[in-house]
Subunit: 368 residues, 2 copies
């Protein structure tokens, strides 16, 4: 189910059982995932765990877990968080598919953003100016083509990726290593507010959970699990983003890496991934191509939305002037559309950014 | 033969014929290579060309070519150049193996340097400070481990590679797009002097030939032909060093590329090579590993040789020099068998056609 935040309905026993499951140890997530996927009820899965012989019966019982689950729901309602449980329509299918899915996600922002086609962009917390610039540019280029940008709100590359998506008017989701209502790192409070408006801040940890170093590697599986591909921007040999890359490989997602300077060692992790078969990425097109993603029409500018979105709408005149497979130069397009160059050029740029046309040799354009 | 420069012996008719062959059009190099490798004499190959029906008989005859060859020898003697012809011991085996080998090389410096294990380092003439730093470092690291650094004495990456090798006290060879005694680019006069002392400056063009834009793509096949691998450092989409990479692929040599900044477009050519399968290189170790080096010189497992053959028949000496599972390059096979290039190459071709050996990466052969 998906609780709509402040004005939430009382949580059902089914939902409380799922939240209770999310309070069981992480080591048990894989078994939990198998059972839920096999159609077992959360109650039955919880009972199975509670009856495990190695469990210290004195330390935990169902009543305690369900009480904690109820408190979490109450706190979420106070804080304006949405709850998206494993069975909800807004629980992303790609995340449900991983071996160890979170039974419940706490969401600050729009839960609907979670089901968009996503690419994760992660990298060094101490990102160089180059890494920050690349992350912002690629995030912006992808977001403007309707791709959701997923990252971890960390310093450096992560926050650059979120910023790039927001600047392009796109969607972005931050996955936290603490409760979705806990601000970490604290200096990203303003950015977090922007992310909330441009997508969501999510966590599998119940509201109020403080950050802990053990939580960050675990949230990395959610970053990759939400995404079709994980793009590494500047990762040293021991970068945490390599954990995300590893999760992506385990989950059958693409691993991509942006190359960079070989002298400083900043990119050793990313380059090692390329040596091992990760695709080398220079542009957003490289990513879309690798994913076999057609550029979804009408996902970026209002102009292209109105002109290409609805099947009933008349086709965009510029697109209509560009028959597929026939590269045309500006004069021809101007003649066919009756548009002046001043009006035509920005329109061509929009269509190019929307992935509907591309430049070919001789200053010509062709429809994709 | 190898003429020892100023105090040279008179050139034999055989040598003059080879030089005359080098004066025939480049378009004919491939046929010329086939004939020489098949054991045909230079005189016979020259006659074959002179009798070609499409040739304008009025414009060229043997006497003219041989006279020009003699002049070239005289000029080389004046300028202190060595002559290394196709059949000489100091003619590099790896170069003899390419489809279109130069019949003769003019050498300023030490002809002995040409037979060292070599890696080519080439890239942008307008090399960024990063590219120059990387080329110098990698050239130095390789040269200090006994690898000959081959490049083209061009501005930017090429000259950085030569400098790096020299600074490390190693060997380097510059392949010119003009005569070996012609200084181009002129500002590299001092560097050329250092290269001469640390290796050689070579050309297939007769002494005194001025630079011409058509000569540079052609000399690129010699840069790669001398080398086991070609390393690209910073190549844009239309960089001439991509021609060298293409030559390397045609010649069965490894193509390697150093990654870099994706924002400026400076590395688009190199990154495209990586996308197409070129190995991404950060350090000299990456290169040595890719080439299977260091490979102890002249090692040959007598045990495996004797065990894989009929105890009665004496084994083919070339096969005996190629223990199963140990890919060897031409230098090693030549050393083990004591055969000259002229005798070794046709034999390797026979064995390959007989399905007993095959070519693998890095210009090496392995027993099947």
């Amino acid at each position: 189910m998906s609780l709509p935040g402040p004005a939430s309905h009382p949580a059902t026993p089914y939902v409380l059982d799922l939240i209770a499951l999310s309070l069981t140890p992480f080591a048990w997530r894989r078994t939990l995932g198998e059972r839920l996927r096999a159609g077992e009820s959360p109650r039955s899965v919880l009972d199975r765990w509670l009856s495990h012989p190695r469990l210290n019966k004195d330390s935990v019982d169902r009543r305690t877990l369900v009480t904690r689950a109820s408190s979490a729901v109450a706190r979420a309602a106070e804080r304006g968080l949405h709850l998206v449980t494993w069975d909800a329509a807004s629980y992303p299918v790609s995340l449900a598919a991983i071996a160890d899915p979170p039974p419940a996600l706490w969401v600050r922002g729009d839960p609907g953003s979670l089901t968009s086609r996503a690419v994760a962009i992660v990298g060094s917390r101490a990102g160089s100016p180059y890494a920050v610039a690349v992350a912002e540019r690629l995030a912006g280029d992808l977001a403007s083509r309707g791709i959701l940008i997923v990252s971890g709100l960390a310093r450096g590359v992560d926050s650059a990726a979120h910023r790039g998506a927001i600047a392009a008017g796109g969607q972005t989701v931050a996955v936290m290593g603490c409760g979705a209502d806990v601000m970490y790192p604290a200096e990203h409070r303003d950015l977090a507010g922007e992310i909330e408006r441009a997508g969501a801040i999510i966590s599998e940890l119940v509201p109020g959970t403080p950050p802990h170093k053990l939580f960050f590697p675990l949230r990395n599986r959610i970053i990759s699990g939400l995404s079709r591909a994980v793009l590494i921007v500047e990762a040293g040999e021991k970068s945490g983003s390599l954990i995300t890359a590893r999760c992506a490989l385990d989950q059958g997602r693409e691993v991509l890496a942006v190359p960079g300077n070989v002298l400083a060692g900043r990119n050793r992790g990313g380059h090692a991934l390329i040596k091992d078969g990760a695709k080398i990425v220079e542009t957003a097109d490289d990513i879309l191509e690798e994913l076999g993603l057609p550029c979804p029409p009408g996902t970026m500018s209002t102009a292209s939305t109105t002109s290409t979105h609805s099947p009933n709408a008349p086709e965009d005149p510029v697109l209509a002037g560009l028959p597929a497979g026939e590269p045309c130069d500006l004069d021809v397009i101007a003649e066919r559309t009756g548009l002046t160059t001043a009006r035509l050029l920005p329109r061509l740029l929009e269509l190019e950014l929307a992935g509907l046309i591309r430049r070919v040799g001789g200053g010509r354009f062709t429809r994709i």
